[in-house]
């Protein structure tokens, strides 16, 4: 039953999520503008942007849409996997 849920629901949803973010990022549909917080703080208030400290796990891959899609897909799988572990550990066994 549980295996069925993974093949019928979890895997298709993950594939759809990766496909959608790939289309949005590679299609140039995602905005490159600063988000509301960054705009208000750095552009509007004129606060100096700090030198970034921790560059991120995948910073060695560089930047670009393909890297964003790849790291995004890896992130989706990591979040799914850790989420499954956390909720498996906290669920009530039937």
């Amino acid at each position: 039953m549980e295996k069925d849920t993974y093949t019928r629901f979890v895997i298709p949803v993950v594939i759809v999520l990766v496909a959608v973010i790939s289309i949005i990022i590679l299609g140039g549909l995602a905005s490159e503008n600063p988000d509301g917080f960054e705009w208000a703080l750095f552009d509007f208030a004129g606060v100096t942007e700090p030198e970034s400290g921790f560059p991120g796990l995948f910073s060695f891959l560089g930047e670009g849409p393909l890297v964003d899609v790849l790291t995004g897909a890896v992130g989706i799988v990591i979040v799914l996997f850790i989420g499954l572990l956390i909720f498996k550990a906290t669920s009530r066994k039937e």
Binding site: E2, V20, S31, D35, W39, A40, V47, S91, E94
Partner: protein, 238 residues
Amino acid sequence: MHVPDGIIPLWLLLLLYAVSGLFLAFSIRRINNRFDDRLVPYMGVLAAVIFAAQLVNFPVPPFSSGHLVGSTLLAVMVGPFAGIVIMALVLFVQALYADGGLLSYGLNLFNMGVFSCFFGWGISLLLFKGMRKAMDEKRAVVIGTSIAAFITTVTAAFVLGLELLSVSGFNELALAAITGVHLVIGVGEAILTSVILLYFVRAKPKLISFLKDSDVHEIAEVIETDWTTPHEETKIIK
């Protein structure tokens, strides 16, 4: 809304680390053993959906952009406690991607997790209970949650603005600016919330705590009063 390191004073970061840590520990304890293990795959998928949705920014013409936060959506679906756990996971992985600082993790979890989950859940519940009298519950949950997502986004931005007043150069005018730009971002949040919620209403309504036949009432229960139970008749008797 992901604050990087090096902006907010350390004392405030440490304070909100402590507050968020306490809420996270309480939330994990609160959901423990309160849901069937058959729901585990769906909870994992919810976390993945929120992470994916936060990856891409939609434009806010002419100068800014925004992305889904998803706290209100999560709180309505699986309750504020499970919502906080999911947001903690998503924000932690994002911090490892340098989207939001590691030192600022507690502050980001407070704004987008603790505050937004409880505030969004409360507003959604009020709207849902009011709207349910005039329409069917599925429509009421989608419309009510979408409106609540808008209000929560703007309010969370205001809270972030209050925190930013501790930063030299960020004044009351900037507080108005960050709140104002989130009036537009909140519309995007409301639209994305309604789209994702519509999918779950059709594909997996049992995963929406506000609906009568939900499988997640127990995990979503906040306190045992009629006011916080969307459907009094389904209240769990212990």
